[in-house]
Every structure is written in structure tokens, then in C-alpha cells.
């Protein structure tokens, strides 16, 4: 118990330190320098981490293999964007349609309460994005959750595709803007404090903070008695049922919560990107998230976070140099340009999977490995004693 407490304190201190570091970095790095990429990929990996953990909650902890993540992210992103476009911008965005929605949360709350209200409006729109995704998940859960393993995956994958097509439907144009992108909504770069001449940018910090809160809530859920029930369902449905767990209800809860956070992740992705367009939320995105979950370790929250960071950093930053011909201070020959990056990336993934059969973290969390490393390097006295006995 004592051990657990110190573990929690270490985690909180670590996160606070990271957040402070990000605030400082954000001020130091100028947007034009090459290091500015660091901030961009940090934001994106934080968002991907939220979605990856939400997928892990379903696939890794409850044992429900769902591939609908992109569809739920799409709903979150659209809901967020629709409710944050300022009224003045609406005509420019809904160029081809008579917009049906005039409500903008940040504007309404901002007018009433100033910048606090603006923040509140943004938060509300994000949460609404999650709620829409969760509500839809609840409805499709009725038929879909009766399916098992691969069949569930196929059904959810198909559902995500239907959602994508539906959002592009011209009849829904007045709300979703059809196949045209939504833009001019509140983005991450709106998060800053202006004091006279100096501006303190807080976009990376805000993303990281939101992500931390979302992942924190999911971790608390996993450690609660509900989380234990989810794991019991994953391990043995019959035994779980014999324990008095209402299988269907718990699957439904896990599905809705997972989709809620996928929706929130989608809303955050909308804030990160400049536009929201249904075409960007293809099944490809789901597979990226699945790759992160598998790479990090199915059933490990910290694994998903590490996987997200590695994936996004490698795909968007570390290997980008190959395209321009410069990589790791080496001038790459022409062969290595234009798309060779993807080859290096795939080989990298294969190597990781070869050496870490169950993902980087397996189903363990970071503190487990921290303890093992500490035991190996710091406390080696009892080991010597063991040798004497043996």
C-alpha cells in the first residue's frame, strides 16, 4: 500500500514536471526554427495517445475487438467544429449551403463571461463531441455487442465507414457542410495569454493537459471495480457471468466510455488541424491507432502513450528528413528520397514487433519496469545472499 502511494506521487510529480517543461519549451522555441516540429508532434502524439488509450480500454482491457475508432473520432471532430465556428465566419464556411446551426459555444459563453467563458465554451464543445460519439455508440451497441471477436471488428469497421459517408451526404450539408471542410473554428493556437507585447503561447500545454485529464480518468476507471469487471470479461466471459457481472451492460459501458474518449480525441484532433473533413477519418486512421496500441502493448496504458509518441514522432518528424535528402546529418542519396521513409518506418515497426512480441510494455505499466530496473541495479545485496545459499 505504501508502495502504491509513492508510485502515485511519483507519477503526479512526473506529469506536473512534464507540463511545466512544455510551457517553458513553448516559449523558447520560435515557430520558425526546426525544433518547432517538436511541439507539433508532441501535440499530435498527445491526441493520438488519448485515442489509443480509449481503444486499449476496449480492445485490451475488455477484450472487445472494435475497429470503429475513426468513425467516433469523426463525430467528435464534427460536433466540436460545428459548435465552435463563430457566427461571423459561418457564411464563409458554409459556402454552398444555408447553415442550419448558428450556435457557437465559445462565442456565447465568451460574450457573457469573457475569456473564462470562452474556455468553458470550448470545453463544452469538446465534451459534447464525446457525448455524441458515446450516444451513437450506445445505440449501435445493441446489435453490435452481441457479436464476438472478428465479427465485432468487421461490424464496427463497417459502421465507421457508414458514418463517414453519412457526414458527406449533401442532404446533411446545412449541418455538416457536406464533403466540404469545416474551418475557422476555435483551434489550439487560440490558447495563449497576451500581456502587452509578450504572448505566452499555451497550445501544446493545453493539449497535453487535456490529454492527461482524459487518460487519467480512463486509468481511474481501469483501476476501479468496473475496470476489474472489464478484465474479468476479457479473461473468461462465463466465469465473469457466474460472478454476477451483467455481461451485456458492462460491455455497453466499456464501449460507450471508449467511444466517448475517441470522440474527445477527435475533437482535439480538430483543434490541432486547421480543417475538419470526413475524408480524413478513413479506416486508415483506425489502423494507425491499432498499430499504436499493439506496438505499445495490448492492455497497457503507458504502453499506448509510449507507442503514440514513438509512432507520431517517427512518422511525422524523425523520418521526414529522408524525403528532403538529409537525415541524421547524412546527405541521403536520391534513391532514399520520395517515399523511402515509409519503407524505413515499416521495417522499424517489424523490428520492434520481432523483439517485443507482446508490444513494448506487454500488459504491464511503467512503474512495473521502473521497479524491476531498480531491483536489478540498486538492490543487489539480497541477490548475493541467494548465491551463497544456492
Amino acid at each position: 500500500m505504501e508502495n502504491k502511494k509513492t508510485q502515485n506521487i511519483t507519477t503526479v510529480v512526473g506529469i506536473v514536471f512534464l507540463l511545466l517543461l512544455v510551457i517553458v519549451l513553448e516559449q523558447i522555441i520560435s515557430p520558425t526554427s526546426t525544433m518547432a516540429m517538436l511541439l507539433t508532434v508532441t501535440k499530435k502524439s498527445a491526441i493520438y495517445a488519448v485515442v489509443a488509450v480509449s481503444m486499449n480500454l476496449l480492445n485490451g482491457f475488455t477484450g472487445l475487438f472494435s475497429l470503429g475508432q475513426a468513425g467516433f473520432m469523426l463525430m467528435g471532430a464534427y460536433t466540436y467544429a460545428i459548435f465552435t465556428i463563430p457566427r461571423a465566419e459561418r457564411d464563409a464556411v458554409y459556402y454552398y449551403y444555408d447553415q442550419a446551426m448558428e450556435l457557437s459555444f465559445p462565442e456565447v459563453f465568451g460574450n457573457a463571461l469573457g475569456s473564462v467563458g470562452f474556455l468553458l465554451g470550448v470545453l463544452l464543445a469538446i465534451i459534447l463531441g464525446g457525448l455524441v460519439a458515446a450516444a451513437v455508440a450506445y445505440v449501435i451497441g445493441f446489435p453490435v455487442l452481441r457479436l464476438k471477436s472478428d465479427y465485432l471488428a468487421i461490424a464496427t469497421l463497417g459502421f465507421a465507414e457508414i458514418i463517414r459517408a453519412l457526414f458527406q451526404w449533401t442532404k446533411l450539408g446545412p449541418i455538416t457542410n457536406g464533403a466540404n471542410p469545416l474551418k475557422n473554428y476555435v483551434r489550439l493556437n487560440s490558447f495563449k495569454i497576451e500581456m502587452g507585447d509578450t504572448t505566452i503561447g499555451l497550445s501544446t500545454f493545453t493539449t497535453l493537459l487535456f490529454a492527461t485529464i482524459c487518460i487519467g480518468i480512463m486509468v481511474m476507471l481501469i483501476n476501479s471495480s468496473y475496470g476489474r469487471a472489464f478484465k474479468a470479461i476479457r479473461e473468461d466471459e462465463v466465469a465473469a457471468e457466474a460472478m454476477g457481472i451483467n455481461l451485456y451492460k458492462h460491455k455497453q459501458i466499456a464501449f460507450c466510455i471508449s467511444c466517448f474518449f475517441a470522440g474527445v480525441g477527435g475533437a482535439m484532433l480538430a483543434m490541432f488541424a486547421n480543417t475538419v473533413q470526413a475524408n480524413n477519418f478513413k479506416s486508415n486512421m483506425t489502423f494507425e491507432i491499432l498499430l499504436i496500441v499493439v506496438l505499445g502493448g495490448i492492455g497497457s496504458v503507458s504502453g499506448s502513450c509510449i507507442g503514440a509518441v514513438l509512432f507520431v514522432f517517427a512518422a511525422e518528424w524523425w523520418l521526414r528528413g529522408l524525403d528532403s535528402g538529409k537525415w541524421l546529418f547524412i546527405n541521403a542519396p536520391g534513391v532514399l528520397r520520395n517515399g523511402f521513409r515509409l519503407v524505413v518506418f515499416s521495417v522499424g515497426i517489424m523490428i520492434v514487433i520481432l523483439f517485443f512480441r507482446r508490444g513494448i510494455m506487454g500488459d504491464k505499466e511503467l512503474p512495473y519496469y521502473a521497479k524491476r530496473i531498480r531491483d536489478r541495479f540498486i538492490i543487489n545485496k539480497p541477490k548475493a545472499g541467494e548465491k551463497e545459499n544456492g
Binding site: S225, A232, A239, A240, E241, A242, M243, G244, I245, N246
Partner: protein
């Protein structure tokens, strides 16, 4: 306390249970013996709410519980130790025990202590993953987990399955001890010898029908039972 009347169950396209009636009095150990495919497990699973009966009535303390969902049945005080133990392999021993008490909202401290007193072995292995326990220990854990719901009736499906004779004897000693502490037990077994030694009342089931009922120790001397099940 538990009354099964003219229960019929179809399972996988065949009629597995063809109209049986069983009476389990409070604070007793009742056993159901029979060969493979006699319908023992199906009967138990139907009482637990995992399988829906075709017809018949199951009542618990004079309350109809036929075809209630399994979580309501657990809430009423009937718990099952499933066949083949079925502990949660990637959860720790303690987590497994807590799972057994999933529907309870009160403090579990005393009950965990109670289970640890019954099975000191589990206390030693409290933080170990259940999948790494030996077969006997897993059976102990399965029993302990079932007890965590504070059951009035505990149903056990083949607790001797795949265990060494000496361990089986230990498990049955504990079953008797649990019964002495006030838990009614409905036990199904292929190992008729030990089951009949333990039980107050025994029923013999053959291809879905009851063929005999009697006091456990008396059936041990019954020629037909001897021939069919005791060898």
C-alpha cells in the same frame, strides 16, 4: 431452500435434462452424481441462470427464480464454482477474490480474511497472478472467490476435476468445513465415492433423468450404484 421441479432443458439441440426434480434443504450437502453427459452440469448452469430452461420451475426460498438473469441469481445468494475452475488468469489472487464479491457494496475485509483462514495458501500467494497457481490452488481460489459473494447456496461443478487424490481429499474437507459454517452446498461429481461420503443426500442422474435418490452413505452400499459408478 432450493427446489427444482420438473426441469427440462434443451442444450445444443438435444434435450439434455428431461424433467428432473431436486430438493436441496438448508444447511445440507446435496450431491448429483452421474456419468458424462448425464445432464449434471446443464442442471447447475440452468439454476445459475447461464442456460434458459425449456420448462419447469426453480425456486429459492419459495421465490421463483426460473430464467432470471445470472446477476440477479448471484444477488439472491446462489453462487457457482464453475467446472474447470475458471479463475481469471491475468488477475492476481486478491483481485480474483474481489471479483467474487462484485455485486456487494459493503466492506470485504472480513470475508477476505475468512477465505484466507480457510485457505492459508491463498494468503501467501495474494499478489501472484492466478494463472501461475497450481491446479489445486486454482480450485481453492475458485471456491474462495465463490464464497466472497457471501452465498447461501454454493453450487460446485466437479471440484475434483484434474486434481491429485490427496488434493481432492483436502478440497472436500474444506467443503465440509464451509458447510459446517452454514453454507448449503449442491455438488456435482464424477468421483462418486468421495461425493457420496461427503453428502447428506444424493441424486443419481442418467441421461437426463433421475434414477435414484437416497442418503449419501446408503447409496454407497447400493448394488446398482456400486456397479455403475464405484467399480
Amino acid at each position: 431452500m432450493l427446489k427444482i421441479e420438473d426441469l427440462r432443458v434443451n442444450y445444443g439441440g438435444i434435450e439434455a435434462v428431461k424433467g428432473i426434480s431436486i430438493d436441496v434443504p438448508e444447511k445440507e450437502i446435496v450431491t448429483l452424481i452421474g456419468a458424462n453427459g448425464a445432464g449434471k452440469s446443464t442442471t447447475l448452469r440452468t439454476v445459475a441462470g447461464l442456460v434458459k430452461p425449456a420448462s419447469g420451475r426453480i425456486s429459492f426460498f419459495d421465490e421463483d427464480i426460473t430464467a432470471l438473469p445470472s446477476h440477479s441469481i448471484v444477488a439472491k445468494g446462489i453462487t457457482m464454482v464453475p467446472e474447470g475452475r475458471r479463475v481469471f488468469p491475468d488477475l492476481t489472487v486478491l483481485e480474483n477474490l474481489k471479483m467474487g464479491a462484485y455485486l456487494r457494496k459493503d466492506s470485504l475485509k472480513d470475508d477476505i480474511q475468512w477465505v484466507y483462514d480457510l485457505f492459508p495458501r491463498l494468503k501467501e500467494r495474494s499478489w501472484q497472478l492466478a494463472g501461475t497457481l497450481s491446479g489445486g490452488e486454482q480450485q481453492m481460489l475458485a471456491v474462495g472467490r465463490a464464497l466472497m459473494s457471501r452465498p447461501k447456496l454454493m453450487m460446485m461443478d466437479e471440484p475434483s476435476l484434474g486434481l491429485a487424490p490427496i488434493i481432492v481429499r483436502g478440497i472436500f474437507e474444506i467443503i465440509k468445513e464451509i458447510n459446517r459454517q452454514g453454507v448449503t452446498i449442491l455438488l456435482i461429481e464424477q468421483n462418486a465415492n468421495i461425493a457420496l461420503h461427503t453428502a447428506n443426500t444424493a441424486y443419481v442422474l442418467e441421461t437426463g433423468r433421475l434414477t435414484m435418490k437416497g442418503i449419501g452413505k446408503e447409496l454407497l452400499n447400493n448394488e446398482a450404484v456400486k456397479k455403475a459408478y464405484l467399480g
